[in-house]
Symmetry: none
Subunit: 123 residues, 4 copies
Amino acid sequence: MKFKDNMPIYLQIIDHVKLKIATGEYKRAEKLESVRDMAQKLRVNHNTIAKTYQFLEKDGIIFSKKGVGSFITESEEMISRIREERIFFKISTFVNDLRVLGYSDKKMIEELEKFLKGEIQNG
Amino acid sequence: MKFKDNMPIYLQIIDHVKLKIATGEYKRAEKLESVRDMAQKLRVNHNTIAKTYQFLEKDGIIFSKKGVGSFITESEEMISRIREERIFFKISTFVNDLRVLGYSDKKMIEELEKFLKGEIQNG
Amino acid sequence: MKFKDNMPIYLQIIDHVKLKIATGEYKRAEKLESVRDMAQKLRVNHNTIAKTYQFLEKDGIIFSKKGVGSFITESEEMISRIREERIFFKISTFVNDLRVLGYSDKKMIEELEKFLKGEIQNG
Amino acid sequence: MKFKDNMPIYLQIIDHVKLKIATGEYKRAEKLESVRDMAQKLRVNHNTIAKTYQFLEKDGIIFSKKGVGSFITESEEMISRIREERIFFKISTFVNDLRVLGYSDKKMIEELEKFLKGEIQNG
DNA sequence: GTGGTCTAGACCACA
DNA sequence: GTGGTCTAGACCACG
């Protein structure tokens, strides 16, 4: 995993975990990698991962048991919420950004379609 | 202007200026506010604005005349490029993000249309 | 400040701050001691205090500004809530504990009164 | 049994046993569950219960006979003391806590009565 | 081995 | 000087 320079690593990992939940890669109640294993894999200090897990736990996204491990939430509802929030955020950000640039709703959809078609020709 | 916590303010201001160029609010060869004026307006330290202007100048987006002030580039081509790069970046990021979440091109457009319609009903 | 052995220091400090808010010692929008000053005063590492402040910030009890300092919440409502929650918690815990020990409501009040009188005689 | 996160489980179980003695649920000289039975019942590791029993024995609250089991103390005086200490601790803690929050003796009793009455209305 | 806490010391961004 | 992040390394509680 490559980290951006201008954002704390632990926040990037939090987002990374939330993304994996949103895409379904991490499933309900699944065991996460141990703090130290993930630290080694991502080449960061174990404290950084511990902080990450604690923030995720505070938000109810994972739960940890001492001496056992850390696990994705058991709440299917929470998992759906993470996914839906993410999608909503992406779409509303997109709409907002293009509007600021002067795009009408119609033009926005047209440009998106054009982009998607263009990719086929280019790729 | 409200700044995010986890990103250097000067980078946010750089983006802010580039956005104003992309939207046409800042025009070709227009004089920018002085470092101290902008600092006061954005409620940040003047050093932060100075840093911002240096970066923008390095990228050829603005240029400075000693004792006179800073100005938006005179190159119409640069201005177009800033705008197009921005749009391309926004669209490709959007497409990429939704694909990661498992969205097909078709569903992506559908959801976007749904979102735009939903706004009308809600707003 | 003396710390108990069987509870993380940062949680004890969180409670310590909340207590000071509840008693009115810390007032609305008041500046807290800096992370490093409090660390020195309490003879703990600055990271421990930083963690404390971050948790308090996540709960909306204080807010921090980089390069400026940390401050008690500006919300009078939040301050009242902290105080009332604390009182409610103390009373309900007391009632519950004595009931478990077989005390009726009447006996509970009698014992409390007896205790308060006894103190006068002893003190 | 639900355990708090921020306190060693064995201390919570010690308190749990002392509470059962204080309430009379565990009687003088009564045989306790075996380490493994209690471990299974409380869903904790048997080492944790073993540790618990060792501490209780050290304090004279229980005693063990090799190959037979563990038993509640035979001293009626010890049992009374556990109960009285507990009650005294609860009351004095309560009084102290509310005083710190600025409550007079009179107000303390009033609030307690109010709380007890309020419960009836709410429950 | 698992998560959690703490220290010491470094560096960064911001004012 | 202020808060925030990160590392390295230690120790603890629990299973």
